[in-house]
């Protein structure tokens, strides 16, 4: 923190009044500009049209941000940027002559250790012109870290909840979504999870949803935002049998400050567009109307909880419990693409009409992968996402 320099300046009362009026006019004008800028950014974000089940890739207008995969070559992963236009992948550092291989590089962020601020190198979200990550604060709180878009500065933006990391050494990354000025979050170490939110920048946590208090376990997961609403899934168990789970897909209605169940029993991956929920099930590819409460089967092909994302023209499914095939349907339920790959993903993150992302593995260990959907169909394959 820079210390403010104190200056003794003497004004006449008339000049003081003039200054106050001028400052007021300037502030009013500045506030107006900020609001305009915020609205523009919000619209850009909305228009990007990406759909991520796992928020490990952050998308801005110009590119994608991600943490390197932790492997033998990179014990301390760097923050990377992939330029949409050129496809170039570089460490997020604009220091002149930096070799990007030491802790002085801007792309390096502190690891999590007791008593220090440190970043968990998984979750990443682009929001309102900044990047956000989660990690541990020096006083043992799960914290939200705000990182400047060029990686040059970072700070703790909000403390989310107290952890037991100091005592146990165990860390589980919280489930997080930043939306409309709030951090929606779940402490996934709790047996009885609940959905809470706090304002971006910090404040008091507000509980939005809690599972059945009689249950032995409650889980809240897959928090996503579609069409201005926050959606999430939750289930409660009274025994260890998943077949007895109660819950489904919910939507948080901010003006009414309540959570409504949208589809009972929907526990697998989902996506939402134009008031319809899309998901794969034993019945096939399904489209559920939130308004009507009716389900239409678009493709009569049994599926086991496939990952699903929606683009403007297609429904993309990844067979995560099977062979790892990627299939795209149009909105009439006609198959338009199928990509079989020798590489099966550990996790399919999601993406958009141009680019899909996931995490794979080979003999060397884990690696981040991307699939460029703009390539000719016969050339479609998962490629390693690394510095080039």
């Amino acid at each position: 923190m820079r210390e403010k320099e104190e200056k003794k300046i003497h004004f006449t009362s008339g000049i003081k009044l003039l200054c106050v009026l001028a400052a007021g006019a300037f502030l009013l004008s500045a506030c107006g500009k900020t609001e305009e800028k915020d609205t523009a950014i919000a619209m850009e974000s909305h228009e990007i049209g990406s759909d991520f089940e796992y928020q490990d890739i952050a998308e801005s207008e110009n590119g994608y941000y991600f943490w390197e995969c932790r492997c033998d070559d990179h014990i301390d992963p760097r923050l990377m940027f992939m330029d949409k236009e050129s496809g170039r992948v570089v460490p997020l550092c604009n220091k002149p002559d930096c070799m990007h291989d030491g802790k002085d590089c801007n792309a390096y962020f502190p690891e999590m250790h007791s008593g220090q601020n440190g970043v968990d190198k998984h979750y990443l979200q682009y929001y309102d012109g900044n990047l956000y990550a989660v990690g541990l604060s020096s006083d043992n709180y799960a914290a939200l870290f705000c990182i400047k878009e060029d990686g040059s500065e970072w700070e703790i933006n909000a403390k989310l909840y107290r952890t037991d990391y100091m005592a146990t050494g165990h860390w589980k990354s919280p489930e997080i979504l930043i939306h409309d000025g709030y951090v929606y979050m779940v402490d996934v170490k709790q047996e009885m999870m609940k959905l809470e939110r706090i304002p971006v920048g910090g404040g008091t946590a507000e509980v939005l949803f809690e599972g059945d208090s009689d249950a032995s376990e409650s889980m809240v997961y897959r928090i996503k935002q579609y069409e201005g609403f926050v959606f999430f899934q939750a289930y409660s168990l009274n025994d260890e049998n998943f077949e007895h789970a109660a819950g489904g897909l919910y939507r948080y209605d901010a003006p009414g400050n309540r959570c409504n169940q949208i589809k009972e029993g929907l526990f697998g991956p989902y996506s939402v567009q134009n008031g319809f929920v899309y998901y794969g099930s034993e019945e096939g590819l399904c489209r559920y109307s939130i308004q009507e409460g009716t389900t239409e089967i678009l493709a009569d092909r049994p599926m086991t909880v496939p990952n699903i994302i929606l683009t403007k023209e297609s429904i993309i499914l990844y067979d995560q419990m099977g062979d790892g095939d990627l299939t795209a349907f149009d909105y009439e339920g006609i198959e338009i693409l199928n990509v079989s790959s020798e590489k099966k993903l550990l996790q399919f993150f999601g993406g958009n009409a141009d680019m899909l992302f996931g995490e794979g593995m080979d003999d060397k260990g884990r690696s981040l992968l991307f699939l460029d959907l703009n390539r000719p169909v016969e050339e479609l394959q998962w490629e390693e996402l690394r510095e080039n």
Partner: protein, 119 residues
């Protein structure tokens, strides 16, 4: 300390152990193994000196029947004259193990790590 950091530290320690270095790195010989299949996570740690607390933990990643990827761990701890700790956990309810690795501890200190295995 992150799991990977633990693993690196464990590898360093294991190198000392297996390398038979003298001095402060010396320890009784040990072995560790891990096997991850879709339905079972298995880890075994043997420390050839009785009279210690020995523990094996398998850290794993699984997909549950709702298609959600999550991590977990399972451990076995032994005391006294026993020199082997074994842990095996079956997955049910449609869950599948995806990957995992095992860490062996002696008297609370990491002593050996078995490399990542994939189902």
């Amino acid at each position: 300390m992150s799991k990977i950091k633990k693993m690196v530290l464990g590898i360093a320690l294991a190198m000392c152990v297996f390398g038979g270095s003298v001095g402060t790195c010396y320890a009784a010989s040990s072995s560790i193994e891990v096997d991850i299949t879709a339905t079972r996570a298995y880890g075994k740690f043997v420390y050839m000196e009785a009279g210690h607390q020995i523990k094996v933990t398998v850290f794993y990643i699984e997909k549950d029947s709702f298609g959600l990827t999550r991590d977990g761990d399972v451990s076995d701890t032994q005391f006294g004259n026993v020199t082997t700790a074994v842990v095996s956990k079956s997955n049910s309810n449609g869950c599948q193990y995806v990957s995992g690795y095992a860490v062996g501890y002696v008297d609370g200190s990491e002593m050996a790590v078995a490399g990542r295995a994939y189902a």
